[in-house]
Symmetry: C2
C-alpha cells in the first residue's frame, strides 16, 4: 500500500472550467497529471495506491482522495481526472470524507489535518534529497510520499513534516515536475517489489 | 541529442476537437502526454530533444516534429500540446517538413519514411527488452528511441525496425504507458550524463 500527497498551492476549491485547467483552475493540470502518474499502468490501475490532493487555492482548503482500489470512471487523460475532481468540488464538503464518485472522496482540511489523520512516517521528495536508488524501502509496509507542485513546499509545510518521522529523497539529478517524480518513485518501488 | 518517435495508430490526421482528445481525436491524449514527458523539466525544456509523432489514423499518414531547441507556446498541459498538433494539422502537409508554429513542423509520411530520413540505430522500448539500467548508452552520441502507443508496435512496424541496427530495451518490470516510459528513459540518460 502506497499513499501519495500532492500539494496544489493555487488549486481552486470550487467547481472550475475543464477547458482552462492551468489558468482559472489554479494549475489543476499538475494535480491531474499526478493522479494519472500515481494510478495508471498500461492496461490497469495501481490498486494499492491512494492519491491525496491538497487544494489550497481557496478557503477553506480541501482534500480530495483517489483510491486506486475503488476508483471508477477514470481515464488517463487530464480532463478525465479533472472531471472527477470537479464533481467532488460540487459536493458540500464536510470535516469528514464524503464519496463523490466511486473511489473519489472529499473533505474540508489542510495538509496538517491530513498528516495527522494518516499519522505515518513521511517520505518527502525534494531535489536535494538522498538518491532514492540507494534506499531500501520496505515495500511490504505502507509507505507515504509527499510532493509539492511547481512551487515546491513552503517553509510552514516543511515544518509540519518536521513533526513526523521523515526522510528526504530525490529521484534524480535534475529538477522535474511532480508527476514525473511519481513515475520514477513507482519504478523504484516496482523494482524492489519484483526484486530486480 | 535525443530523438523519440511515438507511433499513434489511431491518431487523426485532420484538425480535431480539443475537448475530446481520447475519443474523436484517436487517443491524441497519449501523444500529447508523450510530448510533455519528452520535453519538460521543472522550469525549463529539454532543448536537446526532438519528438516525432507518427499519426496513422488517417490517409495519408502524417509526421509531426517538436524540436525542444526551438519550440514556443508549449505548456505542460495536454491541451497545450494538442493545440500545437491541431495547428500543424491545419497546414497543407507536403512531402517535406513545413513549420506550423515555432519548433513544430509537419510533413506527409509514415514510420518507414521517418526512419529512412533519420537513418540511425534504433533503441526500441518493449516490455520484454533488456533492462535499461544495465545499458551503458553513449550519451554524447545522438540516440533514437521508438515507442508505441497503447497498442504497441505492429508486426510490420517491427519489421521496419529490423532493417536498421537496433536493440530492444525495457524500463522496468511492469507494463507502462508510453509517456511514463519516456520519463524513465530520460532519468536513465540524465544519470549517465551526470555520472551518478
Amino acid at each position: 500500500m502506497k499513499s501519495l500527497i500532492i500539494i496544489g498551492h493555487k488549486a481552486v476549491t470550487m467547481p472550475f472550467s475543464l477547458n482552462d485547467l492551468p489558468g482559472t483552475a489554479g494549475r489543476m493540470d499538475i494535480l491531474c497529471r499526478c493522479v494519472n502518474a500515481a494510478l495508471f499502468l498500461s492496461h490497469d490501475l495501481r490498486r494499492d495506491v491512494r492519491v491525496y490532493l491538497v487544494l489550497k487555492g481557496g478557503s477553506p482548503s480541501k482534500l480530495i482522495r483517489f483510491d486506486g482500489a475503488q476508483v471508477r470512471y477514470l481515464s488517463p487523460d487530464e480532463r478525465s481526472a479533472a472531471s472527477l475532481v470537479k464533481k467532488a468540488l460540487e459536493k458540500n464538503a464536510q470535516d469528514f470524507w464524503t464519496e463523490s464518485t466511486p473511489g473519489v472522496s472529499i473533505r474540508k482540511g489542510d495538509f496538517e489535518d491530513l498528516l495527522k489523520e494518516l499519522n505515518k512516517k513521511v517520505i518527502y521528495l525534494r531535489e536535494d534529497g538522498v538518491d532514492i536508488r540507494g534506499k531500501k524501502f520496505d515495500v511490504s509496509e505502507e509507505l507515504l510520499f509527499v510532493l509539492g507542485d511547481h512551487e515546491g513546499l513552503t517553509g510552514d509545510e516543511e515544518k509540519i513534516i518536521g513533526g513526523y518521522e521523515h526522510e528526504i529523497v530525490s529521484v534524480g539529478p535534475i529538477s522535474l515536475h511532480a508527476d514525473h517524480c511519481i513515475i520514477l518513485l513507482h519504478n523504484e518501488m516496482d523494482r524492489l517489489e519484483k526484486r530486480i
